[in-house]
């Protein structure tokens, strides 16, 4: 159909584990993504931010194999790849934790962790090996789960998120993609999930974190990639970006409604805090 954009093939890949260049995706009349690039290195947390409709979810689905891009190049581990489906992505080593977690409420923690990749000999499940591995995974994440033999349904939101993240590690991936992992969580649970993200980084994984929450992003990310209207709007190292700059990049202007509100509120007691 559409040819890959050739002028992007010169972009140096470096030591990145996953690099996307010139990604284009169109749905009917809507150009969802235009010439988008994204790069993750091992042991790096890249935050992907953007307003509603910026193309975050489309990009996530392309990386996880749910959608196929119309054009562009995906390089994984130094070689160009085509991701034709979710199982393709898993096989490559790209694990995705979807926003709705995609857990089966009626199954226990072990069953959910190994769903679709059960340990079995001649199709007979090896429960002991799976339970042992489940405890090992949960320990590497320092996760607190009351029992791996209770149905997911009886766990709290943060615990479910933990299980979903632990599940992404079962196939020993190189890149973990987290789609809005803290969206539905309370303060303490959010902090726990951010700890998990840091632990993923410590184990040398490339982490892509999609989030709406600027505080979370700034707390945990190494780099922040901003999408706006389906294009790359900015790429910050986390220490050089202020919240105002981020918001400006996301909304596309510095005189936007958010910045205006912020300046209106800070003017009276100017420099009082920060």
């Amino acid at each position: 159909m559409t040819q890959p954009l050739t002028h992007h093939e010169a972009v140096p890949v470096g030591d990145s584990v996953l690099s996307l260049t010139g990604i284009t995706k169109r749905f009917g009349a809507v150009q969802a993504l235009t010439d988008v690039s994204l790069e993750v290195r091992p042991g790096e947390v890249v935050a992907l931010v953007g307003d509603n409709g910026a193309g975050k979810s489309t990009l996530v689905k392309i990386i996880s194999g749910v959608y196929q891009p119309d054009g562009g190049r995906i390089v994984f581990d130094g070689r160009p790849v085509a991701v034709h489906g979710p199982s393709d992505a898993q096989r490559l080593g790209i694990a995705t934790v979807f926003q709705d977690l995609a857990l089966c409420d009626n199954l226990d923690v072990v069953a959910n962790l190994f769903l679709g990749q059960e340990r079995a000999t001649a199709s007979i499940l090896n429960e002991v090996e799976m339970e042992q591995e489940a405890w090992r995974l949960l320990r590497t994440l320092s996760a607190k789960i009351p029992s791996v033999r209770i149905p997911i349904a009886s766990l709290s939101g943060g615990q479910r998120q933990t299980v979903a993240i632990a599940r992404s590690l079962v196939g020993q991936p190189k890149v973990v993609l987290l789609d809005e992992p803290t969206a539905a969580l309370g303060v303490a649970q959010t902090a726990e999930v951010l700890n998990l993200v840091e632990r993923l980084r410590e184990t040398g994984l490339g982490v892509i974190l999609v989030s709406h929450n600027m505080a979370d992003v700034q707390a945990v990310a190494d780099r922040i990639v901003v999408l706006r209207l389906g294009r790359n709007a900015a790429d910050f190292a986390v220490e050089e970006a202020t919240t105002e700059e981020l918001v400006a990049a996301i909304t596309g202007a510095s005189d936007n409604v958010v910045a205006e509100r912020a300046s209106r509120r800070t003017k009276p007691e100017d420099q009082d805090h920060e």
Binding site: P86, S87, Q90, F98, L101, A102, L103, C104, D105, N106, L107, A111, L115, G116, Q117, E118, A120, S123, I124, L125, E127, V128, E129, E131, Q132, W135, R136, K144, P146, S147, V148, I150, P151, A153, S154, S156
Partner: protein, 416 residues
């Protein structure tokens, strides 16, 4: 003993004081209580129901619990139970098959025509009947996967359509009597396990249970996980041995359990094992619990649907063949609404959720026992089928009501 060595000796699944422990009598009771409170009733309601039904009919007529009556209840429950086993599978996916009765009748009719009119051997004729079930299952799977028709609709069409096929196949005669010397009649009507063989089966069941638990214990200990709690295992094994042993002794006063019943029992055990311990069974539960999650985790969802639609229709056909053998004939009324709804009601009454993902193979066995007990008890009381229909309907509503209420308990305890 120092703190460090103590924690090292603790199993991996108990290394944190917040972890749920099931050790000891108290641990066992509290974990059971928690399960009930969170809306996971298991087979408790149906067991209670069966006990109440037995006591009620026994007080009304002591012959209800006679050895002879128990033999005939189990014998006549088996064919419908096999059909209900298929219903359990399809309900686990959150789908329904309303046509199992018609399919059972059609398969029986095909078998009868092949056997009596065409003079084929019983085995070949039965294979022909089973082929009918296989074809229907594949057809349903195709309609569901390729066209996307809801299972409720195409199985309703099947309910009518296949009853028409039954009439067509039977032709003008209307009723076909199976040949008396067929082994199918011998097997379904006159074969019973008595004497030492019956006790050998009981002993085998207990030994298999203990052997499985022993193997689990060895492997879990080697893997550093808590093994099963053996006092409980011993108690359960003793309960199985004594309970099943006494029951066997009691029915042996009459003819003993029928081959048909043991066949059904064996099928339940096999399906239960397949559901709980194989990759396929895990995938069935996953698709029934959250189809989208199953698909995203790489499970071949369509294959699961095909396998279950085919198995449901095969069990329906097989149950129909056995029922025909038990009744010695196939008539225009074979496998009509009665069979259909009894099989579906049995699966639901046994505790299979209509909402998918919850239930076990044992639901078919418990549910069909409840319904057959009601039928038998009302027959003994000399009540005609109108009352039986009403009672069965009421029991079905109670069972679905319990399912819905426990579902609500699950969501209010955060276990949605």
């Amino acid at each position: 003993m120092s703190e460090a060595t103590r924690t090292a000796a603790v199993a991996a699944d108990l290394a944190d004081e917040r972890l749920i422990k099931n050790e000891g009598v108290g641990g066992f009771l509290s974990s059971q209580l928690n399960r009930l409170r969170s809306g996971d009733l298991g087979n408790l309601p149906v067991v209670l129901g069966l006990v109440i039904i037995c006591i009620g009919f026994y007080l009304q007529n002591a012959r209800f619990l006679s050895s002879r009556n128990l033999v005939s209840i189990t014998q006549y429950a088996a064919p419908i139970g096999i059909i209900a086993l298929g219903i359990v599978l399809i309900l686990l996916l959150g789908e329904i098959d309303l046509s199992v009765g018609s399919v059972s009748g059609m398969a029986a009719a095909v078998m009868a025509v092949l056997m009596v009119n065409n003079g084929l051997s019983t085995t070949v004729a039965m294979l022909g009947g089973a082929l009918v079930g296989l074809t229907v299952g594949l057809l349903y799977a195709a309609l569901y996967i390729w066209i996307g028709i809801p299972s409720f609709v195409f199985s309703l069409a099947g309910l009518l359509g296949f009853q028409g096929v039954l009439l067509f196949v039977l032709g003008s005669t209307g009723t076909i009597n199976l040949s008396k010397d067929s082994w199918l009649l011998e097997f379904t009507r006159f074969s019973f396990v008595t004497g030492w063989q019956s006790y050998a089966i009981v002993a085998l069941i207990v030994l298999v249970y203990l052997g499985t638990e022993w193997r689990v214990t060895v492997r879990r200990t080697a893997a550093g996980l808590t093994p099963p709690w053996w006092p409980l295992v011993i108690v359960k094994a003793a309960a199985i041995a004594v309970g099943l042993g006494l029951l066997t002794w009691y029915v042996n006063i009459d003819r003993g359990f029928s081959y048909l019943w043991w066949l059904f029992f064996g099928l339940v055990v096999v399906v239960d094992y397949a559901l709980r311990r194989t990759r396929w069974g895990r995938h069935v539960y996953a698709v029934g619990g959250n189809e989208e999650a199953a698909r995203r985790s790489g499970i071949k969802v369509n294959r699961v649907y095909v396998s279950v639609f085919v198995l449901t229709s095969l069990f329906a056909a097989f149950g129909g063949l056995l029922a025909a053998g038990l009744q010695t004939s196939v008539s225009q009324a074979t496998g009509t609404t009665d069979t259909n709804l009894t099989a579906i009601a049995a699966a639901v009454i046994g505790g299979t959720s209509l909402f998918g993902g919850r239930g076990t193979a044992w639901a078919a066995l418990m549910g069909v026992l409840v319904l057959q007990a009601i039928t038998s008890g009302l027959n003994l009381a000399g009540v005609e089928s109108e009352v039986r229909f009403m009672v069965t309907g009421a029991v079905l509503i109670i069972a679905v009501g319990i399912d819905s209420l426990s579902r609500r308990a699950r969501s209010s305890s955060g276990s949605g």
